[in-house]
Amino acid sequence: LKIDRRLFVNFDWILLVIVMAISGLGLLNLYSAGFNLAGSRGEPLYIKQAYWILIGLILMIAAFSIDYRIIIRHAYTIHAISLLLLFLVFFLGNITHGSQRWLVFYGFSFQPSELVKLTMVIALARFYKDNQIDEGYYLRNALILLFIIMVPFLMIMRQPDLGTSLFLALLFFTMVFFMGMRRNIVISIAAVSSVLAPLLWFIMKDYQRERILSFLNPERDPLGSGYHIIQSIIAIGSGGFFGKGYLRGTQTQLKFLPEQQTDFVFSVFAEEWGFLGVFVLMFIFLSLILWGFKIARNSRDLPGTLIAFGVTMFIFWEVFINIGMVLGLFPVVGIPLPFLSYGGSSMVILLTGIGLLMNISMRRFVLHP
């Protein structure tokens, strides 16, 4: 394998700096969120998260080292492996809080549904590479697309993890709409989903319905399901303009804020750093997303554009949904905040995705063989 010197010249340092900045803030914030747990057994989560970042960086290097066109070539295989892991969860998965989401090997637990988010993006890129039709797509192709999405969607829903499965669908449709569809298909999908949406209510578990209801009115059950969102809003709002100071957030340090290392990690940041800190964080996220769009636009080929677009929207939707959720704009669904929430699978997959962005970015000038 001959290594092109231009790959180094064109390496996307800016992207690396942006991602390292966010991950650094994430670690700092996680230290604060876990500060009050001093003395509890096991390693603190920020240390664990640092390990995950290291693993993620290795995978990131792997992801930009291999030419993305080779990855595209094996896209369906990669997606199939990811679906196989998802399938294994049903047999080998660990059950926590009533749902089966985790695979554990050698002490590492891994969430295949996170991996699926990324492999679906790759598989879709491959699909559009093979089926370019400028005038939109026919139902025949749409059925293949549905198959790519429906299998993981249903499996994740069975775990059950409604939030992640809906997220997968959201990401899927984002890419599909980006590529364009015939108007009548768009209309029929809209019609079908508006009919199916109320049906969702009936397949939802009780706790999921509780979440929707308490989203609509958090004070309905302030000590039960509404508790999370009320405490989150108090934490964020009480931060004010300048915040309460690092390690000084009372909502966080006195544990009034639930799930503060995972889903509600943003509230920790907002409480301690205030509007000023949050503004900076949002600015960095926006930079990352716009940078991702730039990479997508500058790609030499369609799969590059699509992967870059998919990965960027993956990050965008997670940021938007997670922050919207802790701000009380959306119901509580288990979507992590990229690079800030504690979670090995999420971190590793995000960094791998960033690796793909770098892959596409550094090869924008490379002529095809």
């Binding site: 934490a235 964020i236 004010g240 006195l254 509007f275 716009l290 769009f293 080929d301 965008f316 095809h368």
Partner: protein
């Protein structure tokens, strides 16, 4: 294949340009939406939500004040606060509750099942709220728990101040005891500003002066975490300790009375006749008030409340007895004042007095012969007083009884006082729907029959004879002062009334009382002391009608129907400064049972007085020698 390759190289990214421009706006708008919401929450609602976060973490906790102390007149401490140690467990702080309980049980030689029961008895509780496992552990156990604290995670020792009654049962009836406020008391209007876990006085001075003793609670602003666990103290308002009380009692004299009174049941009161101050007040049997501190064990409460001798009753203020011969002085006063007799009027006593078909007897079967009033009091001749009673009539007797303070409360600063009973014709009609019988007046004239008095009423009446006719309100509380010593309230002696007696009448009565002790045939002769100048009167109050033949020996009579023995005295004769009343329930004759007790108390009082004077002289001498030295230094 080639065509496909071409397509790739022909790829024109520009065709997505419009879409990316739209996306850029969409993404920016989405993030702007989030920023707007953040602005709303953090800037517009920031202060409200900051307040809510403070409310989350800050709790106000009550800090209980120390209860006021109680001293005797000389400043000796009677009731103190001392630490008591409780052991409690916070289950959240230990992983192995059973193990901890077992180790604790082993260390303290206690039944672990017992402890586990206590733990499981608590069903509903908030997290991090300690469960009380053991109350009031001794210092030995405390040392064990403290040294093994590392092996007993989750276990904590609380220090709770409890009352220490220095004199135990000797002063229980005066000082009382405390306990947690009951549901009934909480519902009472009087306790409306009390809280459910307050300690309140339940009896005695503790109860009477509870409002002064309890103090004012302080508060602590504490930071808690989500589980309510106290993390730090942010602010504190110190509690104000309760006021200290000084009583008029002399603890040494009280102890002397307690030691002198070796009988089963009865009362001793020592009063300063000059101002009505109580110097000692005991009631026997008594109880140990220290047992009530942390909630009295059920079985002890049972045995106390079911005891036939009722140790929970303060006989000095709520025991009601026939005054017996002690009543004769009131009859004599009435007779002299009403002019029925003068001091020289003589009446013959042959041992009996007939009234209709009834015969009333004198305690001396042979009779006293021809006696005047002085002799009649000295020798306690019953027949003489039967005649006086007959001449005066029940209404006059009742009238003078009331003047001496019988039949109504003295309003001593203690709860539970009884009024006694002064019978009148009207009372008899209302009570029994029967008219007054002449014979009942005869019984009344020697303090038998319906008339009932409390020991406190008796000593007050005799103090009035001693001091020239002034009826004082009994004074138990001398002073209330803050913990720093600033006087809150000084209790000055209160005259209730002056008994309208002529000076001459008083002189006759006081001479007779002197005679009863100091003349050879006086009933209180046994009390005579060369050095003292004691005046007094014996009394024997019949519980059942006197046996006809009088043959039976005292000891053979069942306890319950034996006579009450009474004795009252004061000293010195002309300038009385101490009055003593002894009531021995079922003690037989006043002269033989009650008088010796009184004698020891009077002796003890004067010994103490001499001792105090000696101390005083010595301290004056010391002060003088100090000033000597200093003046020498000056030269």
């Amino acid at each position: 294949m080639l065509e496909k390759q071409n397509r790739l190289t022909d790829y024109d990214p520009g065709k997505f340009k419009r879409k990316f421009n739209v996306l850029l706006w969409l993404v920016s708008f989405a993030l702007f939406l989030l920023i707007s919401r953040l602005w709303y929450l953090q800037i517009i609602k920031g202060d409200d939500l900051r307040q809510r976060s403070e409310n989350n973490r800050i709790r106000i906790q009550e800090v209980k004040p120390l209860r006021g102390l109680i001293y005797d007149a000389r400043g000796d401490i009677l009731v103190d606060n001392q630490p008591s140690f409780d052991v409690s467990l916070i289950p959240e702080d230990t992983k192995d509750i059973k193990g901890v309980m077992k180790r604790l049980a082993d260390l303290c030689d206690q039944d672990s099942v017992d402890l586990a029961k206590k733990l499981s008895a608590v069903k509903f509780r908030k997290p991090f709220v300690p469960i009380k496992i053991d109350k009031d552990i001794g210092r030995d156990k405390l040392a064990i728990v403290e040294t093994n604290s590392l092996n007993l995670p989750g276990l904590m020792v609380d220090v709770v101040p409890v009352r220490k009654y220095v004199y135990g049962e000797e002063m229980a009836h005066v000082l009382g005891y405390v306990g947690e406020i009951s549901a009934g008391e909480l519902g009472d209007e009087y306790y409306k500003d009390y809280r459910s876990d307050d300690i309140v006085g339940k009896y005695g001075t503790e109860r009477y002066l509870d409002r002064y003793l309890k103090g004012v609670s302080g508060g602590e602003q504490v930071e808690v975490n989500v589980r309510g666990r106290k993390l730090s103290v942010l602010g504190r308002v110190e509690p104000v300790p309760g006021f200290n009380i000084t009583l008029t009692l002399d603890a040494r004299l009280q102890k002397m009375c307690w030691d002198a009174f070796t009988e089963k049941a009865g009362s001793v009161i020592v009063m300063d006749p000059r101002d009505g101050s109580l110097l000692a007040l005991i009631s026997k049997p008594s109880f140990n008030p220290n047992l009530f501190n942390r909630g009295i064990p059920e079985e002890i409460w049972e045995s106390l409340s079911k005891d036939v001798l009722s140790p929970l009753q303060n006989r000095s203020i709520s025991g009601q007895y026939p005054p017996g011969s002690l009543y004769k002085l009131i009859v004599a006063a009435a007779a002299l004042e009403e002019g029925v007799i003068n001091k020289d009027t003589k009446i013959g006593c042959n041992g009996t007095f007939d009234m209709g078909n009834r015969t009333f007897r004198c305690w001396r079967k042979a009779g006293h012969g021809l006696v005047n009033l002085h002799q009649a009091i000295v020798e306690s001749c019953d027949v003489y007083f039967y005649h006086l009673g007959e001449m005066l009539g029940v209404e006059k007797l009742a009238d003078y009884s009331k003047k001496f303070g019988f039949g109504s409360k003295t309003f001593i600063e203690l709860y539970g006082e009884k009024e006694g009973l002064v019978p009148t014709k009207r009372w008899k009609r209302e009570r029994f729907k029967e008219s007054w019988q002449g014979g009942e007046t005869i019984s009344l004239s020697i303090g038998q029959g319906f008339v009932l008095v409390t020991p406190l009423q008796l000593i007050r009446a005799y103090s009035a004879i001693a001091n020239g006719g002034i009826l004082y309100k009994p004074r138990l509380i001398k002073r209330i002062a803050t913990a720093e010593g600033d006087i809150v309230r000084e209790f000055i002696p209160e005259k209730e009334s002056s008994i309208p007696l002529r000076k001459k009448t008083l002189e006759i009565l006081r001479y007779a009382l002197w005679g009863a002790v100091n003349e050879e045939n006086g009933t209180g002769w046994s009390l005579k002391r060369e050095a003292r100048d004691v005046s007094g009167k014996t009394g024997t109050a019949q519980v059942v009608a006197m046996p006809k033949d009088g043959k039976e020996e005292e000891k053979e009579i069942p306890y319950k129907i034996r006579d009450h023995a009474l004795f009252v005295c004061y000293a010195p004769r002309n300038t009385p400064e101490i009055a003593v009343l002894v009531v021995v329930e079922h003690g037989g004759h006043g002269g033989s049972t009650a008088a010796p007790i009184a004698r020891r108390i009077v002796d003890g009082y004067f010994d103490l007085k001499k001792y105090d004077a000696g101390l005083m002289a010595q301290s004056i001498k010391e002060a003088a020698s100090v000033s000597d030295i200093s003046s020498r230094d000056g030269i």
